[in-house]
């Protein structure tokens, strides 16, 4: 086995990784090249021909890698720092997660520009389907054996593959947008659903199926989401979710914003999660920069992230119950959200998108009197949660509508890449805050609420319980907020601590460079996964030694959650679908990015 150490990375303990050893025993010494990175898992370059076999080995081994966590690609044609790595114009990577081992592994395949073809792995991991379509859409890599390789994020009429380095990033580089009557008709015709293209029959011996188009604008679709239902009466024979109506190019944006100025874009990925989104990105950047933040900064981050978890779950609760037909809970839960915003605003200065975390710390220290305000919120919530439980979750109509509806097992959830509360509702105890504590979660005392049936009811109930646990965490933050600095004393902390900036011209220049051009990070790759509001969210950053990222890959939880819908809904009824949509808790920005 060759170990490529292109960068001054601290020695990877991957040599001892049992999975790598097993792979070596099975496939031989020269089957892969190991890349040393800061990702925190073995990264192996494998030949295209060997990929499927290796993945099936990993999928089939004892304590298998049950989940395809992420699959995407990187256009490496302009990357300068890749010494020791196999030649590659486009690299496709596969990241697997084993819940039983609590380990990950990443396989990379190098492709030449003239030969952008891969075997599809849909038969091994069903959720590869959308990821492969995304790679085709964004990079133009063809997957042989894919059941339906079409664009997924961009409109069907789009020309080009946006994440290629030679594709323009800015809208202002194109001609100004115009919509003509003819163009409107053409685009609408392109969106028309064609059942035959999806291999769907228009009827069976008994009846003719109805095709019902739900979305892209529908009150229960939670944003710009479309799903086409194949119906026999009220029963859903099959359905096809259609996404991409909310694609904001967040990944491409990372390639032109500095490491620092990209922070506000992360807020808008899971837009109900606020600063929770900053966390994985900032932690990944800090790994690249080698910054260790202070205890105070870490605790402030945890506290604010948990507060946003509550606010996001409250929004979930209101809309989930509203989708079930209960009109008033949303008024209650939004009143509580308003209370949480009062605290958030007093501390960060903004409501939804504070972009308040910084590389090396947070934007500023907690204001005087924050604890009283936060305590007020923590005292307010429990009786409200109790009320929600009594009035709604114990309500027989809610129970009838959600119990045993859209249920799936842990195994099915893992197969489809389901994470977060939706996974825990199936009884699987997998919460990254416990399993792989980050940002100091190991110091907190809290429990991981679990469901048992994996149905729409459990998904609601688990979230109510999660809010209670978040309140517990916040209470511990109030009681034990460490003293100290809110920013790390490190040359790459951006912007540098203010008192440092004002000392002399040198420090002022550093400050100026960091906020205008941005900090320069050494070439390497890093990743951070966190337990976000909706599931596991991760940022996989590739630095080429520049002021901005070479490639920013955002793995969001909602993307696989939506992909799973047909598998759950086949044979269900239309109202069950609405209950299921409400119980998934997704926002389209978290799907399409």
């Amino acid at each position: 086995m060759n170990v490529a150490t292109p960068h001054d990375t601290t020695a990877n303990e991957a040599q001892a990784d049992p999975v790598v050893v097993a792979l070596m025993q099975r496939f031989g010494e020269h089957a892969f090249v190991e890349q040393a990175t800061l990702i925190g898992m073995p990264v192996l370059w494998v030949a295209r021909e060997a990929l499927v076999e290796m993945l099936s080995f990993l999928r089939g081994m004892p304590e298998p890698f049950e989940m395809l966590f992420d699959l995407s690609a990187n256009d490496e044609r302009l990357r300068g720092n890749r010494q020791g790595l196999p030649d590659s114009d486009f690299t496709v990577f596969y990241q697997l997660l084993s819940v039983s081992r609590n380990r990950d592994i990443m396989l990379k395949v190098a492709l030449a520009e003239s030969d952008l073809e891969m075997p599809s792995i849909v038969s091994l991991y069903p959720n590869a389907n959308w990821y492969e379509r995304e790679v085709w859409d964004m990079f133009g890599v063809v997957f042989h054996g894919h059941p339906h390789l079409t664009r997924i994020l961009m409109p069907p009429t789009w020309i080009g593959h946006p994440l290629r380095k030679d594709h323009s990033a800015r809208a202002t580089e194109f001609d100004p947008y115009t919509l003509t009557v003819e163009g409107q008709d053409k685009e609408q015709a392109a969106l028309k659903f064609d059942p035959e293209a999806w291999g769907m029959r228009r009827g069976n011996e008994n009846s003719e199926f109805m095709f019902l188009n739900l979305g892209p604008n529908h009150p229960s679709a939670h944003g710009a989401f479309r799903i086409v239902l194949q119906l026999e009466g009220e029963e859903i024979v099959d359905c096809v979710p259609d996404i991409g109506y909310h694609h904001r190019g967040a990944e491409k944006m990372g390639e032109r914003q500095s490491w620092h100025s990209y922070i506000p874009y992360t807020d808008r990925v899971d837009y109900t999660g606020g600063v929770m989104n900053n966390l994985p990105y900032i932690l990944a950047v800090e790994k690249l920069a080698g910054i260790t933040v202070t205890d105070r900064a870490r605790t402030i981050r945890v506290m604010m992230a948990e507060l946003f978890r509550i606010s996001s779950h409250l929004l979930f609760l209101g809309t989930y119950l509203q989708d079930l037909g209960a009109m008033s809970p949303v008024f209650y839960s939004f009143s509580d959200r308003q209370k949480s915003y009062e605290v958030i605003e007093a501390i960060t200065g903004f409501r939804m998108h504070p972009a308040w975390f910084r590389i090396g710390g947070v934007a500023q220290d907690l204001p005087k009197g924050w604890d009283r305000l936060m305590q007020g919120f923590v005292d307010w919530m429990p009786k409200r949660l109790h009320e929600y439980e009594r009035a709604m979750m114990e309500n027989s109509i809610v129970r009838e509508r959600t119990r045993n509806v859209a249920a799936y097992s842990t195994q099915e959830a893992l197969e489809w890449g389901v994470t977060g509360p939706n996974l825990r509702a199936t009884g699987c105890n997998y919460d990254l805050r416990k399993k792989r504590p980050y940002s100091g979660y190991e110091n907190f005392d809290f429990e991981v609420p679990l469901g048992g049936n994996g149905d729409a009811f459990d998904r609601g109930q688990v979230r109510i319980e999660e809010m209670r646990q978040s309140l517990r965490i916040i209470q511990q933050c109030i009681d034990h907020m460490p003293a100290g600095d809110y920013k790390a004393d490190h040359p790459l902390t951006t912007p540098p601590p203010r008192d440092k900036m004002l000392q002399h011209i040198e420090t002022l220049i550093t400050h100026f460079l960091q906020v205008s051009w941005g900090p320069v990070l050494k070439p390497n790759e890093s990743q951070q996964m966190i337990e976000a509001t909706k599931g596991i969210n991760s940022y996989y950053l590739t630095s080429d030694g520049n002021t901005m990222s070479y490639r920013t890959r955002i793995r969001t939880p909602s993307f696989p959650h939506l992909q799973q819908i047909p598998a759950v809904m086949r044979g269900g009824f239309v109202p069950d679908l609405i209950a299921h949509l409400g119980s998934i808790d997704f926002v389209m920005a978290d799907v399409d990015r």
Binding site: L153, M154, P155, P162, H167, S168, A169, R170, A171, T172, F174, P176, Y177, T178, L179, T180, V181, E182, G183, Q184, D185, E187, Q188, P216, N217, P219, G223, A224, G244, Y245, H246, H247, R248, G249, K252, M253, R268, Y271, T272, L315, V330, F331, Y332, F334, S335, Q338, A346, I347, G349, R351, H353, Q364, D365, P367, K368, G369, W370, L373, M588, A589
Partner: protein, 226 residues
Amino acid sequence: MAYTLTRADDVIAADNARYPLGERQRVEDPLDQQVHRSVFTGKLEEVLHSAVNWGRKNSLWPYNFGLSCCYVEMTTAFTAPHDIARFGSEVIRASPRQADFMVIAGTCFIKMAPVIQQLYDQMLEPKWVISMGSCANSGGMYDIYSVVQGVDKFLPVDVYVPGCPPRPEAFLQGLQLLQDSIQEERRPLSWVVGDQGVYRAEMPSQREKSRAQRIQTTELRTPDSI
């Protein structure tokens, strides 16, 4: 007061016609001419117009339509703490055919634009558009391949609400500004009576209106205490 006149005549558009359809021109208040013809008719018409407009502006039914983050703040304005019912706009309609105005709350994506146009076309006159948030106003922080740089590239916008996202209060202010401009509008009182054009009042720019007051602020509160 000056007005912008939209003629409803050219509804059958040529294929290469660009959205927004209809010709627009700036004109004087149509009532002025009438006043010279007959003082009495003019007054009666004014009374009618203002009565109808008063009814219209205080019962604006919004279309339940959201694109992204801004929609969350828009919904927040609909719920108890901000209570949009105070302004007569709590009757959210799920169908464009029953709605009076549409709030473009969020980013206008290229893939979504034809859909937005279709929904707008399905709304019945009289109808209005509020563009909420930087994305809808101009593309905002998303100067990126998949985003239309402002919904006014194809829809006629009545009120722009700045912010990313605007606070619910800002949205409510936008709604009130829309109401103010509706009060001044001149629309056909019936399909047989009078001028069939739509006259939209040119409302004063908020930037100019509040500038003097805004620059009065010299001391900003420090963020060191709550």
